[in-house]
């Protein structure tokens, strides 16, 4: 199983990149500063967002986009960097959400205890289920993780002991929460929390990818047998990646439940995992910013298309139809996703430039 990602860049591109390096270093910092200061802006972008940038509705949508950017980056640790095609990632996200929600709402724990307990529980869950599922590989692994996630969806839907609220979902009780996270006026704090989550995930994934472990994971993606021949145990490294990705997803769940203010059974559905896959592939698997970008753009489109849908005819009114078709086209025509787009356009631009210069020299001679 291999995943096509941008690996060793050709020398020319590497030289161009060295020239641009200071820009690349600075770019994310600038983006971070812009995102962190967005709540201070009263700019309104008609057509892009319904209200001004610092309106609670806009901030909540942005916070959801940020959480999903982080979630997609965490999923990419599995898919793009280790080559594991898991169809059950939503389970750990949902475990973080429902774990926090149940502990706060039913058990009455303070938020930080509930969040820590949910995080620890979800991580342990990822470890145990990963240990079983990783006994298979490739497509069978995908099916098995899907089945496990389905059990999670069933447990939530059947509402054993009235814990999860079944189809209705479970609104988060506000008594146990710190005041800074309660109320519409404090949406801005949740927005910063979501931004912090995204930064944490990107930092962790980048740190892991740059470490010796990350190199082994990349080796597993490219040629698992060879890693085994080199005397490393593929199973153990894959389990580490699976557990870590599960923990990152659970952390995302903790943030998400605060942003949305409750849990709904939708987060356990296999559709959510599929959309994570779509985000990563649209953004560019195995790159640092591709999945983040993919996750944010996907969630934004998903929300905006729903509200724009009334004006569109027929199947175009269904966001999933539009996104599904874009996804299929992306698999065929942009295998590197958004992150690989500039690399794909570069030869075209170079060819165009060459043509214009030759035309110019022909006319002048």
């Amino acid at each position: 199983m291999t995943v096509e990602v941008a690996r060793d860049a050709p020398p020319a591109a590497a030289m161009a990149r060295r020239g641009r390096r200071w820009w690349w270093r600075l770019g994310p910092l600038v983006a971070l500063a812009v995102f962190a200061s967005l709540p201070y802006s009263t700019l309104s972008l008609p057509g892009v967002f319904d209200g001004a940038l610092n309106a609670p509705g806009t901030l909540q949508l942005l916070a959801i986009c940020l959480v999903f950017g982080g979630l997609a980056a965490g999923y990419d640790l599995l898919f793009g960097r280790t080559g594991l095609l898991s169809f059950g990632h939503a389970l750990y996200f949902a475990a973080g959400i429902y774990g926090t929600d149940i502990l706060v709402t039913h058990a009455g724990l303070p938020l930080w205890q509930a969040a820590l307990a949910a995080l620890a529980g979800s991580t342990a869950l990822a470890g145990v289920l990963g240990a079983v599922a990783l006994r298979t590989s490739g497509i069978a692994f995908a099916m098995v993780t899907l089945a496990f996630a389905q059990v999670g969806a069933l447990l939530v839907a059947r509402d054993f002991g009235g814990l999860t609220g079944g189809e209705e979902g479970l609104p988060l009780a506000t008594e146990g929460l710190p005041g800074a996270f309660v109320g519409v006026a404090n949406t801005v704090n949740l927005y910063w929390l979501a931004l912090a989550y995204l930064v944490v995930v990107v930092a962790v994934v980048a740190r892991v990818a740059a470490s010796p472990t990350g190199r082994v994971l990349a080796g597993l993606r490219d040629d698992e047998r060879r890693v085994g021949v080199l005397g490393l145990d593929p199973y153990r490294f894959k389990l580490v990646a699976f557990t870590l990705a599960g923990a990152l997803a659970a952390l995302g769940g903790v943030v998400y439940v605060l942003v949305v203010g409750g849990a709904s059974p939708h987060v356990t559905s296999s559709e959510l995992t599929l959309s994570l896959l779509v985000m990563v592939v649209l953004g560019g698997p195995g790159t640092r910013w591709g999945p983040v970008l993919g996750g944010m753009v996907y969630m934004y489109l998903d929300h905006r298309l729903t509200s724009l849908a009334a004006d569109l005819p027929g199947p175009l009114a269904q966001p999933l139809f539009v996104l599904g078709v874009i996804f299929i086209l992306a698999v065929y025509f942009f295998p590197g996703g958004l992150a690989g787009l500039s690399g794909r356009i570069a030869p075209l631009r170079a060819a165009l430039r060459r043509r214009t210069t030759t035309q110019w020299s022909e006319t002048s001679s």
Binding site: M1, T2, V3, L85, V132, A133, R135, T136, S137, G138, I139, A140, A142, M143, V144, L146, A147, F148, Q150, V151, L154, L155, A157, R158, F160, S270, E271, L274, S275, L277, V278, V281, G314, P315, A317, Q318, P319, L320, F321, L323, G324, V325, F327, I328, V331, Y332, P335
Partner: protein, 296 residues
């Protein structure tokens, strides 16, 4: 005793439904290494085509021969869509497993959304022949005829697929391709025609499951395919990928387990037991019942 008979027969009806979906999945995976997420879509296409044909095609209807005609149209539609998907979407990505999975994922999202847009998200009442609504008395239990219909249909499909694989030349090519695709190609046989055929057969079986499942559930909705697909996946993994007979055994085990536990335990417990069974099978025998190694 009558409860036992009833549970066994309705459980077998469920098994039959799983088998019809899983057989195609298993064959497609065995031959082409494609995990087909769009298989649930073929089921929905079959169900909706049958439903549509019963209302619009002259001669088709919800009674007797009319329903047979409607179901035949549904099966043909499923097979046609499956063959088309293989030709247009899967074939250009030959031997690129991950991309194929991604395309079928996109297709399942877009296809279900298309069904939503066309016929709405609400379940539609499905045309049911008069006799399928009745019950038959077997061993003191009154068993719904729709369950029996499913069991008979699945048994016929199983026999037909096995006979096709064993006694025809194309079947020979498919069996050889499941064992070792490179060798078959090296011997000068074009396996790709077999791919299309296997897709069409799988699509037809899934569409039949859609049509008969519509009779069984009494309604048809866009999301039906997806929820059945997950259990079909479990059946395929337990049965051993690429083995039709393994799928049949696994489908019987899964259907019966689900039905019995759901009756004697809490509702929903059976579904969880099925996944537990999957975990146990994976721990004890990772290659599944029929024993073809499940590796990428």
């Amino acid at each position: 005793m009558s409860t036992l008979v009833l549970l066994t027969l309705t459980g077998l009806g469920l098994s039959a439904l799983y088998f019809l979906v899983a057989s195609g999945l298993s064959l497609v995976f065995g031959l082409a290494d494609v995990l087909n997420f769009a298989h649930g879509l073929f089921l929905s296409v079959g169900a909706y085509a049958t439903w549509w044909a019963a209302g619009h095609v002259p001669g088709a209807g919800d009674g007797g021969l009319g329903f047979v005609l409607a179901a035949a149209i549904g099966v043909l539609a499923g097979a046609a869509v499956a063959a088309l998907v293989e030709l247009v979407l899967i074939r250009p990505l030959y031997s690129r497993t991950i991309e194929q999975v991604l395309v079928t994922v996109g297709l399942s999202l877009a296809g279900v959304a298309l069904l939503h847009a066309t016929w709405g998200a609400d379940p539609r009442p499905f045309p049911r022949p008069e006799w399928a609504r009745g019950v038959t008395f077997v061993g003191g239990a009154s068993v719904p005829n729709s369950s029996l219909l499913l069991v008979v249909a699945a048994a016929l499909v199983l026999v037909a697929i096995l006979a096709f694989l064993r006694f025809t030349r194309v079947g020979l090519v498919i069996r050889a391709g499941v064992e070792d695709r490179e060798m078959v190609t090296a011997l000068g046989v074009d396996v790709r025609t077999a791919f299309t055929l296997v897709f069409a057969i799988g699509g037809a079986a899934a569409a039949l499951a859609g049509a008969l499942g519509g009779v069984y559930f009494g309604s048809v909705s866009p999301s039906q395919g997806g929820s059945l697909l997950i259990f079909a996946f479990i059946v395929v993994v337990i049965g051993g990928m690429g083995s039709v007979v393994g799928s049949a055994y696994a489908a019987v085990a899964v259907g019966l387990l689900q039905q019995f536990v759901n009756y004697y335990g809490t509702a929903g417990l059976g579904d969880i037991c099925v996944v537990a069974l999957l975990a146990v099978v994976l721990l004890v025998r990772p290659q599944g019942i029929a024993g073809r190694a499940v590796t990428a």
